[in-house]
Symmetry: C2
């Protein structure tokens, strides 16, 4: 995947995309802040800890870009992009409880600071609030897309839970899991763009497929980084998937050509979760031996290429072209980022 | 609150209500079973454990009754009553994780059998599925009512969490908590009846207020039973609220006139959660001394009387009268039940 548009030298592709969108993201952020308010102080406190503290806002940016790409310049995407971010935040809060995570976005995760109970309940609140925002917007089609995505995400998380520590997990099953837990929300975030812009089903499908493939590429790269990343840049703990026994792309690649000793290692560490101090380093050495990082990134590139083909079908008018170019940079960055 | 209609002698008022509704509840149960299906086997397994195993279906019955009360005899309430039950089930699953409960409906709670992780995620799934059902029905007003109720429930749960172990909790704060965590969904379940039947805002308000007051009465009685109930009938552990340091109606009544020693007891056990083996028995003795059970039930009766007044405004045609009468019995039973 090549792209001539490079943006400002050294600038983050999401910042380039954001600046092309004028003050759209500022409007979304204001909508996010206003809608996480509650008479119950713990709710905005916990939500602010996670939401206001940052995050790349990639999903709301996708909703904004995929709306503007079709020439719509109205206000509707602001509340719907906020709804998408709320759904994402709710799943993060619940994931961190489920995974017993301790770090998120470079600091202690909300479950550590506020407790599992508050994380579960504030997740529920944000999820409900997302639906309230959609109801206020009034599009049943947007409601359909995002309620379906939410159900699929939950199914993906349960499937991941059921497949953890299962050394027989196939690459197909892995793609099914990340398709549900990650790509479904990317797909929905993109698909509602043409819905807001009142485009036809063909445009919806193009953006849905763009988002889905982008989501797969993004998650595969993420799963490589969980072994290959630098902890300081990653903002989370390297080796989380290993410790939790989650069978992800790099491990599945290495497992596919493991010798007896290696297989025994993966069974002990991932299936039986009997891990010692230097096992992560050993895992990383085995992955390198099988070139699993580069091959994982190659897989991600293949999905990125499919995403690019979907994006090519979007309109290329004066406004559309720079946005499309910026989206390509985001796509490329999702695969090539080092964190 | 008096009511001449007594139903079949000894029959449970919810069974009487259900039989008045013909095969409505059968249709709702079929809708529930069909919509908790998923390709991921753990989802129907866990959902069935909780949903199919019983529960009184009081909320779906309220939706059905409040639709039929206004003369609507269509199919729409089936999926919406199922959506209400899914929202309720999702909150039960999350509550049991949050409260670290071990028993529900007379058997081990889902979090004990399937783990906290699966309970959180299947709750998310059922919640999303509820919204999918509402979207398929297509009423933005129903979506507004139930998304708002869901946000309010989550707020109420967080408020309860923030107020636990706070000996200064006022009766007003307690009513705010149970209004949000319990009465809001009763109110929504009833309010959507006249919405389905295409009645005006006045009918919506009557049924919303009926449900809200019924919910308050129901929860206050439940909170009394948490001390006064018989474990075998209750289907959950007596003294849960005490152990968790939740300040509920009976304790707030006793606290209002506690002497120094009693206050010290409540501070130690509820605020500091420093509890010994016979503390629950001591708590029960103090509650009896202050007549807190009877006074709690009296409070519940006051809300039941308000609910009755709202119900009196509903139509009293040939079909309406027996339904209204059966709803009065349910209301009465909610306060007087021993479990």
């Amino acid at each position: 995947m090549k792209n001539d548009h490079e943006g400002q030298k050294g600038e983050h592709p999401l910042d380039v995309l954001s600046s092309l969108l004028g003050d759209d993201l500022v409007r979304v952020n204001a909508m996010i802040l206003r809608n996480m308010e509650s008479e119950v102080p713990l709710i905005p406190q916990l939500a602010a800890y996670l939401i206001a503290a940052g995050g790349k806002r990639i999903r709301p940016l996708l909703t904004l870009a995929c709306t503007r790409l079709y020439g719509d310049d109205g206000d509707r995407p602001f509340s719907l992009a906020a709804a998408v971010e709320f759904i994402h935040t709710a799943t993060l809060l619940h994931d961190d409880v489920v995974d017993e995570s301790t770090e998120r976005r470079g600091k202690s995760s909300a479950n550590v600071v506020f407790g599992n109970q508050a994380s579960v309940l504030v997740g529920d609140f944000l999820f409900s609030r997302a639906f309230q925002l959609m109801v206020a917007d009034g599009s049943l089609e947007v409601l359909r897309i995002l309620s379906t995505a939410s159900a699929v995400i939950a199914e993906g998380e349960v499937l991941q839970l059921s497949s953890a520590n299962d050394i027989e997990t196939s690459m197909e099953r892995y793609l099914q899991i990340i398709g549900a837990k990650t790509a479904a929300l990317f797909a929905a975030a993109c698909e509602i763009g043409p819905v807001i812009a009142r485009m036809d089903e063909a445009a919806q499908k193009d953006m849905r497929d763009f988002g889905y493939n982008l989501g797969l590429a993004f998650q595969i790269a993420d799963d490589v980084l969980d072994y290959a990343g630098e902890q300081a840049k990653l903002g989370k703990t390297v080796g989380d998937d290993f410790r939790e026994g989650k069978l992800t792309a790099p491990v599945l690649i290495a497992l596919g050509e493991a010798d007896a000793a290696e297989r025994e290692f993966w069974v002990r560490t991932m299936a039986e979760r009997n891990q010692h101090d230097d096992d992560l380093a050993t895992a990383q050495a085995i992955l390198k031996k099988h070139n699993a990082y580069a091959r994982g990134i190659e897989m991600a590139h293949e999905y990125a290429a499919q995403a690019e083909a979907c994006l090519a079908k979007a309109p290329a008018g004066k406004k559309g072209e720079p946005l499309r170019s910026a989206l390509l940079d985001v796509l490329n960055f999702s695969v090539e980022r080092s964190a």
